[in-house]
């Protein structure tokens, strides 16, 4: 078998990213009678359960910068972010007409309201507001989340028309563990050789995982890591930064490219967080639902949409990300009107100040087109790190 080049892999991922009719998922569904597709929004859903039901989890991250929102604006006030508008647009324009169910994870009030709108707009499509615990104690949040997943499994069995066994779920956990390992290898490469695995390419590779079957995506990630590692791209005198705040509405590709052009090596980020939310392998022995719940409670990442009860721990996850990636600064990039990110940001900035980590902050929307102000801000930030930092 001929090894794929970086350019071939990235081109394929870019085509998947730009396809707002989700033809890859449509083709998967059409390939075998009875196949079902379950859509989900950011931030996280246990895709293992959907996979165990023999269905395709399809990540819907809004419409990006290539979708003109015509109907979606009528559903939300002007002070609401863009992802719910463009998701409505995807729905009412028929782009999601092949999707058999939609999950709206608990992230903010806007997405909760979207789940209600979906029920009214598409009464024949399974729709669920997927609640996740905000209390991370086993006997409270753990029990709640286990029940939530069991209820979802029951719903999936109704759609699939068959029982989903614990062995089915264990097998799916193993498949997703493999995917998480491949993605961890991708991030390790980005941290050791950021010039060979730019964030703009890695982002496309991650986005492909939202529409492809997980087994295919794992192979694609591994192909990219192998091809990118073999590249001999020139090393630039760039600054290593962690990008944070992009956990829900995803950035336009040009924004990531602009940051890189401004002299940033993005060595960690929170793009497409569903693929990295659980930080390591979920055990494949024992009760699989309990295992998924335990992983969520005790081995999941930290972000603005997750409650941190321990004040001393607030922001320390980000500081550790900076230290582990040997980063020189943090860029807070938050969606305009994103309550979780913008309310969290001052607290995180205080923690970074105390840790002596430089940072900048700006806002964007998934359809932001004017990159000059962002380039200006990022460029001066990189200069200040390179020329005036103590290191």
């Amino acid at each position: 078998m001929t090894e794929k080049t970086v350019s071939e892999i990235v081109s394929r991922c870019e085509a998947l990213y730009e396809d707002l009719y989700f033809n890859a998922a449509r083709e998967w569904k059409a390939a075998k009678p009875g196949r079902k597709v379950i859509g989900f929004m950011p931030l996280y859903v246990p895709r293992e359960l959907i996979h165990a039901a023999g269905m395709l989890p399809l990540g819907i991250m809004g419409g990006g910068d290539n979708l003109e929102v015509i109907h979606g604006d009528a559903y939300y006030q002007s002070y609401i972010c863009r992802i719910p508008r463009s998701t409505i647009e995807l729905g009412v324009s028929g782009r999601l007409d092949f999707v058999d169910g939609m999950l709206f994870p608990s992230i903010c009030d806007v997405i909760r309201n979207l789940s209600g709108m979906w029920k009214m707009l598409f009464p024949d499509v399974y729709s669920k507001y997927f609640d996740v615990p905000q209390t991370y104690r086993d006997e409270i949040g753990g029990e709640f989340y286990t029940n939530e997943m069991r209820e979802f499994l029951h719903d999936l069995e109704g759609i699939a028309g068959r029982k989903i066994t614990d062995d089915d779920i264990r097998a799916s956990i193993a498949v997703y563990n493999e995917n998480r390992r491949a993605i961890a290898e991708l991030y390790a490469l980005r941290q050791s050789q950021p010039w060979n695995a730019p964030a703009s390419e890695a982002y496309l590779v991650l986005r492909a995982g939202l529409v492809l079957p997980v087994e295919e995506h794992t192979q694609l990630v591994r192909d990219y890591v192998a091809a990118a590692s073999a590249e001999q791209r020139p090393v630039k005198d760039n600054s290593r930064v962690v990008l944070t705040g992009m956990f829900c509405e995803q950035p336009p590709l040009n924004l990531i490219k602009s940051l890189e052009l401004s002299g940033c090596y993005v060595v960690n980020d929170d793009f497409v967080l569903v693929s990295r939310w659980l930080m390591d392998d979920v055990p494949t022995e024992g009760d699989p639902v309990h295992n998924l719940s335990q992983a969520f409670l005790h081995r999941s990442m930290s972000t603005a949409a997750k409650y941190e009860p321990n004040e001393a721990e607030k922001g320390q996850f980000l500081v550790r990300q900076v230290r582990d990636a040997n980063a020189e600064g943090v860029i807070f990039a938050s969606t305009s009107f994103c309550d979780p990110a913008l309310l969290d940001r001052p607290m995180m900035q205080n923690v970074l100040k105390a840790a002596d980590v430089p940072f900048i902050a700006f806002k964007y929307a998934e359809n932001s087109g004017q990159m000059q102000p962002i380039r200006e801000q990022a460029g001066t930030f990189v200069d200040s790190i390179k020329l005036w930092s103590a290191a």
């Binding site: 630039k236 002299g263 200006e376 460029g379 990189v382 200069d383």
Partner: protein
């Protein structure tokens, strides 16, 4: 000893310089400036770099750090990129060590900065999006008047009864100029009026960032426009609290960005060498 190159891709021209830096001695070896005129800026950057290398008598492989600035971040052979404000500040300080503020006026924008004694930008502000304060606008007007670019400054200083031009909008300013031509206003007075209009805008920009009695170095493509320098001096003299400022330029003002990039490149190269992370120009 560190050999560095600075390449500044501007809107109107590409500039390249080569420096040799040893201890505190900064030796400027060569310079090259090429007007873009609808040509590919990336190709011109290569040509300007090659010419500067040849003039300096050094080979590309001897260059330790190729620093870009302006729109040069896409140049494939660069080692590091510096934002144009950072580069212009350092370049202006090299051209005149007394510099306390910089007015970088190029083809499409004006930008005022205050720097400290190390060349660090303390405060800055840019003109808004309208092109009426830009070199491109002035170039267009000169073309309508049938005047060569290098005559603009010398004609402007001869203006004795300048006509007021809109400083808000380039379209309105162009209409003003057409009216002036039809009314028989002389070219020196038209140009002086434009320069005064631009200068009042730039003077407000300088004031807004806290410039008082500093030495203001003019850089960018308009840095050598004597008409603009004279008009700026006149505008500042009339402005409360700004009459102690001194406006200066330099024959090599246009190279300030490239110079600053090259010098920061040398600084970075040495800093990386100290920390054992040596990069070689790629």
């Amino acid at each position: 000893m560190t050999l560095t190159a600075g390449i500044d891709v501007g809107t109107g021209a590409v500039k390249a310089v080569i420096f040799r830096v040893e201890d505190d001695k900064e030796e400027w070896l060569s310079k090259c400036s090429l007007r873009i005129r609808s040509r590919d800026p990336m190709q011109l950057a290569r040509e300007a770099f090659d010419q500067a290398l040849e003039d300096a008598g050094v080979k590309e492989e001897d260059i330790d750090y190729v620093a870009t600035t302006g729109e040069g971040e896409s140049i494939p052979f660069h080692t590091g990129h510096f934002y144009s404000m950072t580069s212009h500040a350092r370049g202006a300080q090299f051209l005149n060590p007394e510099t306390g503020a910089i007015l970088d006026s190029g083809a499409l924008h004006g930008r005022a900065m205050i720097i400290d004694e190390k060349g660090k930008v303390i405060n800055y502000k840019m003109t808004s999006q309208c092109a009426s304060g830009s070199g491109q606008f002035l170039e267009n007007i000169a073309r309508y008047l049938g005047i060569a670019q290098d005559e603009i400054g010398s004609l402007s200083v001869k203006g004795d009864d300048p006509e007021e031009v809109s400083s808000i909008c380039a379209v309105l300013a162009e209409t003003d100029v057409i009216n002036m031509v039809s009314r028989g206003i002389s070219a020196p007075n038209i140009l002086k009026g434009i320069h005064l209009s631009m200068a009042s805008r730039l003077a407000r920009l300088l004031k807004s960032i806290g410039v008082k009695d500093d030495v203001i170095m003019m850089t960018g493509g308009m840095g050598l426009d004597e008409g603009l320098c004279v008009a700026l001096r006149e505008s500042l003299a009339k402005m409360k609290g700004m009459d102690g400022a001194t406006v200066v330029n330099h024959p090599d003002s246009i190279f300030a960005g490239a110079i600053g990039a090259a010098l920061w490149g040398a600084f970075r190269y040495e800093k990386l060498a100290e920390s054992g992370q040596l990069l070689k120009a790629s």
